[in-house]
């Protein structure tokens, strides 16, 4: 399978260059050296074995989070509330991870992941049902659910699921049998993420269900005429999206955090939105972007220490890249024919 490097790749690369340029101007205006800052930002995550391992670890999570949003986008759904699903899945995974004893390693992880997926896809089903039958737009319901799940999860982590003897809000540690091992230090989560990306791409392109989801996403009326159950696709799309988000939370707990504290999961859901949009809702295309961003995020804390620039520069650069990559004028400049991403065309149905 040969990889076509189409003109479509020019747009993301061009956007990155423009964003870096604007960022350099701002950094210089603050009195720091853009070169030093960019050296840390862009090189540090890739220049040492430890750095690369950290980058891939973060990239894996970004990929999965991006896939969650992507699957939704393909079906015409904007799952902006992935964050709530991520923490729900993470807590669910952690619960099985510390509570169930006596299971050998691969099975324990599997069982915990399945539980995480079930719980979060229930959330997705709820959102999908509200949309399919009552016309409640998923942007609204998922944002509300973010706050609701945050409250419920915090309550559980402080009460039923709290580590005894510890005054602070945290669960007990996940048992070793539920922790994803590192292969000589290399994160397995990254490999899982890549596999998931290809699996999803295959499902969307080659299976009937995938075709139905995509058709509903592209043109709901046409799908209806073709006999596809739009309502079923909406519920299924949301369930899938939420399931992947919950899965992401579970993997992150297993591979990185090792126990559940609400604060440890900030930002995963929202980074996924950026990644998905940058990848133009294409499961494979978001991989390079995720690796690039993973590299920046792993260098995030060191930036201020080594160059004086506030770590928020990354958020700003990402925002600029996203803007220039999706606003069609840059695409027109580079004469690319890349299709732009669309979601639903309205609030109702």
């Amino acid at each position: 399978m040969k990889l076509r490097i189409s003109k479509d790749a020019l747009v993301p690369i061009g956007s990155v260059l423009v964003a870096l340029g604007i960022g350099a101007v701002l950094i210089a205006a603050q009195g720091h050296s853009p070169l030093v800052a960019y050296k840390v930002l862009l090189i540090k995550g890739f220049s040492s074995v430890a750095g690369l391992q950290e980058t891939l670890s973060k990239a894996g999570i970004l990929i999965m989070s991006g896939l969650a949003i992507t699957v939704g986008l393909r079906a015409g759904l904007f799952n902006i509330g992935a964050q709530g699903q991520v923490i729900t899945g993470a807590l669910a995974f952690t619960f099985i991870g510390y509570k169930v004893q006596g299971l050998p390693a691969p099975i324990h992880i599997l069982v915990a992941l399945i539980f995480a997926i079930i719980v979060s896809s229930l959330l997705g089903a709820f959102v999908g049902f509200l949309k399919a039958s009552r016309g409640v737009h998923e942007v609204i319901s998922t944002i509300m659910l973010n706050s609701i799940m945050a409250g419920i999860v915090d309550y559980l982590a402080q009460n039923q699921l709290k580590q005894p003897g510890q005054p602070n809000t945290r669960t007990p540690d996940i048992l070793a049998s539920a922790r994803l091992p590192h292969l000589f230090g290399w994160p397995i989560g990254f490999a899982i993420a890549i596999a998931l990306a290809f699996a999803l791409s295959w499902v969307l392109k080659r299976t009937t269900t995938g075709f139905e989801l995509e058709t509903v996403g592209r043109n709901r009326a046409a799908a209806w005429y073709a006999g596809i159950s739009v309502k079923k696709s909406i519920v299924l799309g949301m369930m899938l999206s939420a399931a992947i988000a919950g899965f992401t939370g579970g993997i992150y707990s297993s591979e990185t955090t090792g126990y559940f504290v609400p604060a440890f999961y900030s930002g995963i859901g929202f980074d996924g939105i950026t990644i998905a949009l940058l990848g133009r809702a294409n499961p494979i295309a978001l991989i390079p972007g995720a690796i690039f961003i993973g590299g920046m995020r792993s260098a995030q804390s060191a930036i201020q220490f080594e160059s004086g620039v506030a770590p928020d520069i990354i958020n700003l650069l990402l925002a600029l890249v996203l803007f220039f990559a999706t606003a069609p004028f840059l695409a027109k400049l580079l004469k690319s024919n890349a299709k732009s991403v669309t979601t639903t065309s309205g609030w109702s149905s």
């Binding site: 609204i140 509300m144 609701i148 009460n159 700003l316 925002a319 996203l322």
Partner: protein, 327 residues
């Protein structure tokens, strides 16, 4: 049928209000007053959504618009030591952000929801990077009572006392928008480009220009809200201070059927839900965990949307970019 249901709901609410007032006027007034205080920024943010959607443009970027205007308004106020200049800067920031949104959705015909999300991400990235801590603005505006009205029996203390200028302004501004929307030619034209832009175009309305204008006007209102929160209500800027208010405003807009007065009522209801949940904590209700009390407003919003949204009809052309038909 709908009218009877609405009147019944209004009557029940009025009865509850009077009951509470008789039971303990102090607490009832305090809760209502808080409801207005929590709800007014949301109501004004919902106005932004209405302005845009009635014209046919979905605006998810209200959150980012408020964030940007709060940021620029606050820092302008800090560095010029003048709160009024701060407000002006906030409004300008709001106009700029919404102009960008208009460009993206109307001229470049991007997907409207994605365009709004991009505004939010840009706002978040820009404001968190440029953030400077530890600065303060000169005296905030005072809170005060309205002379005659605050002495009125039932409503005086709850709505016309101890609020800031924006609450009072909002009470005038929101009916003003309603009048504009339903009783003027501008309003008719606006609604027409949102329902059936093709016919409006044939009738001579400049769809593109009007959409851009309305989105920008909406942005000015958004700028006012953001500026208000940072310059007056709270008196400081914190990263991500909007905390989802822009999205809540959209829910309220839908809840209120894209009608300014409806959205206002929805916003006050939401504000009341929050005030009630605080009141429950003040009462020291121990049986319900504090986390659950605090999520009540969100549960309430989803519940209401779930039960009412099915029959909701947004402006028919909202969400689709306007393409001029080739004759």
């Amino acid at each position: 049928m709908r009218k009877i249901r609405n009147y019944t709901i209004a009557a029940v609410l009025l009865a509850v209000w009077i009951f509470g007032y008789v039971l303990d006027s102090g607490i009832t007034n305090s809760v209502l007053s808080s409801g207005l205080r929590f709800g007014m920024p949301l109501a004004l943010a919902a106005m932004v959504g209405i302005m845009c959607e009635r014209s046919g443009v979905i605006n998810i970027g209200i959150e980012g618009t408020m964030l940007l205007s709060g940021f620029f308004g606050f820092y302008a106020g800090v560095y010029t030591k003048n709160v009024l200049i701060g407000f002006a800067a906030a409004i300008i920031a709001g106009i700029t952000a919404s102009f960008l949104h208009a460009m993206m959705t109307i001229v470049w015909k991007m997907d409207q929801i994605i365009a709004g999300t991009i505004i939010n991400i840009l706002a978040s990235g820009l404001t968190s990077f440029l953030y400077v801590a530890g600065v303060t603005i000169p005296n905030n505006w005072p809170i005060f009572d309205i002379p005659v009205l605050s002495k009125l029996p039932l409503v005086g203390e709850s709505f016309f006392s101890q609020q800031g200028p924006i609450q009072y302004l909002g009470l005038i501004f929101i009916p003003f928008i309603w009048i504009m929307m339903y009783k003027t030619r501008w309003g008719l034209r606006t609604r027409s480009i949102g329902e059936n832009p093709g016919s409006a175009d044939t009738a001579g309305v400049s769809v593109i220009r009007m959409r851009i204008t309305n989105v920008v006007l909406g942005g000015a209102i958004g700028g006012l809200v953001g500026g208000f929160i940072c310059l007056e209500l709270v008196g400081s800027f914190s990263k991500e201070f909007t905390a989802g208010a822009g999205f809540t405003a959209l829910a309220l807009m839908i809840f209120g059927r894209w009608n300014p007065l409806g959205a206002f009522a929805a916003a006050i209801a939401f504000g009341l839900a929050q005030a009630l949940s605080t009141q429950l904590q003040i009462f020291g209700v121990q049986e319900i965990p504090q986390q659950f009390i605090n999520i009540l407003p969100y549960v309430f919003t989803i519940a209401v949307l779930a039960f009412s949204a099915g029959k909701v009809r947004p402006p028919a052309a909202a969400g689709a970019p306007y393409e001029k038909e080739k004759a």
